[in-house]
């Protein structure tokens, strides 16, 4: 193994090598410049390795290659020395202008925004689906918990008074709606018995019972603590609704201005829970009603 292999390799300077060979061949800078169609200033800068005075690397490398070829030299080592001297030059960028800032809306931010939007849409969809399924199941379930007492059907009422089993079942209902001006055709004795029965439930507002008085037509939806739907219907103006259930009850009123709410005998202010005339509130969360 020769000794030179252990010596550090001498760095080849493109400009110095070219200059040395030019002088060896007794060629002038002007001659080289005219052969390469370049100016003498460019040739001088090339020989001085003054890359600041020269155009971008692609051109400078071309000049070095052409110069080396003219002097019948191998251009590879010279180009290698040039590439180590000039590295990481950016040649492509947007033309600076007033609208560059607009075009440079950060892509990452865009992606983030899109992701958040997609997640929100997904959540909303899931919520809606859940609501829908719950509503459909509650519609199929017998709505025995909320029975509006209609003034009609006197024959049925009469029959009920006769059939004590049926009456007992009817009396066991937990909620009922009473129209105050209801008139009850039928025998006086039957009527009196019935009215007394109803009065005993309607006039006394039991603890934990919700009383809704409607002055306008309003959609009502009430769920108990387990999320079970107690009532979901459109109530006409002038009706009253009395709901009992495992508290707290979550109440949705579609037309909040047409309803007054009482819970456990005390009026409930629904205004703070109303938005766009739709009230969403929970009553009976603790003993102090909202």
């Amino acid at each position: 193994m020769s000794e030179t292999n252990f010596l550090p390799t001498e760095e080849v300077s493109a400009g110095k090598t070219l200059k040395r060979h030019r002088i060896e061949r007794r060629l002038s800078v002007e001659k080289i410049a005219s052969e390469l169609n370049l100016t003498t200033a460019v040739i001088t800068a090339l020989e001085a390795d003054d890359y600041a005075q020269l155009p971008e690397p692609v051109y400078t490398r071309g000049y070095i290659h052409a110069y080396a070829t003219l002097l019948q030299l191998d251009s590879k080592p010279l180009l290698q020395s040039h590439s180590t001297a000039t590295q990481g030059t950016q040649t492509l960028r947007p033309v600076p202008g007033l609208d560059v800032a607009l075009n440079r809306f950060p892509r990452k931010l865009m992606l983030l925004t899109a992701t958040v939007a997609i997640i929100l849409i997904g959540l909303a969809l899931a919520h809606w689906m859940q609501e829908r399924t719950q509503r459909s199941t509650s519609q199929t379930r017998p709505t025995s918990l909320a029975v509006p007492v209609e003034p009609a059907q006197p024959e049925q009422l009469a029959a009920d008074t006769v059939g004590t089993g049926k009456l007992a079942a009817w009396q066991n209902l937990e909620q009922r709606v009473v129209r105050p001006d209801a008139t009850w055709p039928g025998t006086a004795a039957q009527d009196a018995a019935l009215l007394q029965n109803i009065d005993s439930r309607s006039t006394h507002v039991a603890d934990g019972q919700l009383l809704l008085r409607f002055t306008e037509q309003c959609w009502v939806e009430i769920r108990d603590v387990h999320g079970q739907l107690l009532i979901s219907k459109l109530v006409e103006a002038g009706e009253q609704l009395r709901i009992g259930g495992q508290k707290p009850l979550s109440v949705l009123l579609g037309n909040a201005q047409g309803v007054t709410v009482e819970y456990a005998g005390r009026p409930v202010a629904i205004k703070p829970f109303t938005r766009n005339n739709i009230a969403r509130l929970t009553v009976g969360a603790d003993d102090d009603a909202p």
Binding site: E56, V58, Y59, G62, Y63, A66, T89
Partner: protein
């Protein structure tokens, strides 16, 4: 590509790219070696689709999940709207997510490292297989561009014709390409090379060999080279004076496989009086430029270079 009946129906792709190139002119009756892209435009739609699908599948290897790629296609500036549309459709059908088109000369300039974003004129000459593109660029835009349907293929054809005319011997395209690569010259620089070529004698019908000299190849290439020089002169004539001065000061950059033809830079230097620069690795300039542009699109948006 297997051939079905008389019509070429891509039934099964046997080889693509370099492997298929070796089969050119050497296929039996039930196969066909096809060049789906000729003169810079799609010549065979279905075969191009198959070829692209093969390239796309190579991108992801054996990975289970293969996302559809974004594709940037470089087209000659002279490509008509119909041709561009055909390319778009073809790439979309091959399974690309999005397709953007870009003028080839611009991609070549980016790949070569020409500072096209500066307010300075840069001239680029890209001699590809089918077409030669010449363009003057400034501020990320094209000031002048022209496309001539002369490229490496035409050089090969000229060599085939020359050998046939002067030696009455028929040679194939692949042989012609080898001749061009080994002893092809665009400018007489005093160097003389020789190569033994084999072909079929037209008179006797049997294979013959001949010794071809580089000076003959130079003669054969004169016609297509003259057309390219003419296109460059035309471009210089039509370039606005300020940009012309920039080009004259810094020179013109050569890219594409044609730039590897020995002495082409000397020929252009003599004919135009401009400094002529051969880009580093000229064969891959367009591909590298397209890649750089795709990266830039991510950070600056699609319209940065006003591609269509």
């Amino acid at each position: 590509m297997r051939k079905v009946g008389g019509e070429i129906q891509p039934k099964a792709v046997l080889a693509v790219g370099e492997g298929a190139k070796h089969m050119l002119g050497r296929t039996p009756d039930n196969m066909a070696a096809i060049r789906p892209i000729r003169d810079g435009v799609v010549a065979h739609l279905t075969v191009t689709e198959k070829m692209l699908q093969h390239f796309f599948s190579q991108l992801h290897g054996d990975s289970w999940f293969k996302p559809a790629p974004r594709v940037l296609v470089c087209v000659p500036c002279g490509a008509t709207q119909v041709e561009r549309r055909a390319i778009r459709e073809c790439v979309k059908n091959a399974g690309a997510a999005t397709v953007s088109l870009m003028v080839e000369a611009k991609a070549a300039a980016i790949g070569a490292g020409v500072p096209i974003s500066d307010p300075r004129g840069s001239m680029i000459l890209d001699i590809g297989g089918g077409t030669s593109e010449i363009a003057v660029l400034s501020l990320n835009g094209i000031v002048y561009s022209n496309s001539v349907r002369i490229g490496g293929d035409k050089f090969d054809e000229a060599i085939v014709n020359h050998v046939r005319r002067h030696y009455k011997i028929l040679i194939g395209d692949v042989t012609a390409e080898n001749i061009k690569k080994q002893i092809g010259q665009a400018y007489a620089n005093g160097e003389s090379l020789e190569m033994e070529v084999r072909g079929r004698s037209m008179a006797e019908g049997i294979p013959r060999s001949l010794l071809l000299r580089s000076s003959e190849v130079l003669k054969a290439l004169q016609e297509p080279l003259a057309s390219i020089v003419q296109a460059v002169r035309m471009a210089l004539e039509k370039t606005p004076p300020e940009l012309g001065a920039d080009v004259a000061e810094r020179g013109m950059v050569l890219t594409g496989g044609g730039a590897l033809l020995s002495g082409l830079d000397l020929l252009l230097k003599k004919e135009t009086g401009l400094p002529v620069i051969i880009a580093d690795d000229p064969l891959t300039c367009v591909a590298r430029g397209g890649g750089k542009y795709l990266e830039m699109m991510d950070s600056y948006g699609v319209d940065m270079l006003d591609s269509d």
